[in-house]
Every structure is written in structure tokens, then in C-alpha cells.
Symmetry: C2
Subunit: 105 residues, 2 copies
DNA sequence: ACGAATCGTAAGTGATGACTTACGGTAAGT
DNA sequence: ACTTACCGTAAGTCATCACTTACGATTCGT
């Protein structure tokens, strides 16, 4: 039931851009906001959404807060798409069979 | 460059519900709209979005139009999440190593 | 040929959300 | 202790989008 929030969170381009900056490892808020065309509070709000969706982990470290991608949250969406892909392929194959049968009539 | 549109399309709950109805196979618009709490034109608009995102295929059949899930479109999003998952795991492992090294200091 | 069915599109409305500036709170440095 | 740095939250604005009703086009049945 968690993958819905994760997909919704990943739908925003700015949030995907944030995710991209975290691919190589954890970063503090200022490090994430650096280079992005929006204000730092805006980044904080996005980080909140991503965290609530289970896509990010937060580890307070002294003055700052380190954000990192949560592999488990990504995996939830992954598994949903896997089952969807399986079903889509099965339905596709079945439709192809039906069509072939009709053609030979 | 296509997975972005696909994720955006999948972000809407009603569109995910439509996808669910197509898991078992293709359906005409009326068949999709049946049981859904929105009007048929609303469903048509969602189908348009999903098609443009590459997640659905349309096959006009006489009077009606059959919509089905496009496995290829789903696979695009799948592959994006796979690479994201890989990077997240690698970053996580590296951070764990850093922490362990610090702990033994 | 005519009526019914199936579907897409246009126009308009309401709600959601992404962004800004302003402010408060906590930790580090001197 | 006082200042500085880092960060989250509140309030308000503006654009986007999901939905509705109304309409037009195409295809099937009689």
C-alpha cells in the first residue's frame, strides 16, 4: 500500500532531480538545494514528501540532516511494476493467440 | 526520455485504477468506465494521457476502441527504477562501510 | 436511409500542489 | 554568551489538472 505514495512523489520533476543528486550518496539539504532553480525551503518540502513516501532516509548529524535514498522504498515501486509487467505480457500473448486463431478460420 | 511521462501518468489514482482493469486484457471505453465513479468522458481523457505516455495501445475495432496495456511502456519505467535501485544499494553499502570504519577508530 | 450506440473533444469550474518570503528553533564556532 | 550556519514550518499566491456537461463524428443495425 506504500507504492502509491512513492509513485506520486516520483511524479514531480523537481523531486526526480533531487533523487538524481542523491544517486551517488547522501547529502545535506544545502548540498541538495545547491544548483537547483528553487529556494531551499522548497527543497525541504520536497524532501518531506519523499521521506513520507518512504523513498528517503534522514540521519541528523550535528548541525545538518543527511538525506539518502531508501532502497526499500524504491523496491516497493519496483515490485508493483514487475507484477504489472507480467500481467501485461500475459494479456498480450493471449490476445496474439486469439488473433492467430481467428486468422486461420 | 519516456519514463517521465509514464510515471506522471501513473501518479493519478484513477489512472492506476484503469490500469488495474486492463491487467487481465483489453477493454473498450465503456467497459473501462463501467464501475468507475467518474463519467465516461473523464475516462477518455485519462486514456488519452496513458496512451500518450506509451502505457496503452489502442486498436479500433468497428464501433469501439480497444485499450490494452503496452508492456514496452511499463518496461521503460521498470528499467529506470532498476538503475535507481542499484545505485541506491551501492550508496547504502558504501555508507555502511564508512560508518563501520569510523566505529573502529 | 435513419436511429442508436460508441467514442473523442471543447469549454468551464473547483481543488490540489508547487513555489515564494518570513519566521522560529537548534547546533557549532569564537 | 553571542553570533553564525543549517534547517523546518507557516501563510499566501498562482498554475495545473481532474472533473463535469454539451456537442460532433463515426459505425453498426434495421
Amino acid at each position: 500500500m506504500a507504492y502509491e505514495d512513492a509513485i506520486t512523489a516520483l511524479a514531480d520533476p523537481m523531486r526526480r532531480q533531487i533523487i538524481e543528486k542523491l544517486r551517488t550518496g547522501a547529502l545535506p539539504v544545502a548540498g541538495i538545494a545547491d544548483g537547483l532553480p528553487v529556494s531551499r525551503p522548497a527543497v525541504s518540502q520536497h524532501l518531506r514528501v519523499l521521506s513520507d513516501a518512504g523513498l528517503l532516509t534522514v540521519t541528523p548529524q550535528g548541525n545538518r540532516r543527511l538525506y539518502a535514498i531508501a532502497p526499500e522504498g524504491v523496491d516497493d515501486v519496483r515490485k508493483y511494476l514487475d507484477t504489472l509487467w507480467d500481467d501485461a505480457l500475459a494479456a498480450f500473448a493471449r490476445a496474439a493467440n486469439e488473433k492467430a486463431k481467428g486468422r486461420t478460420k
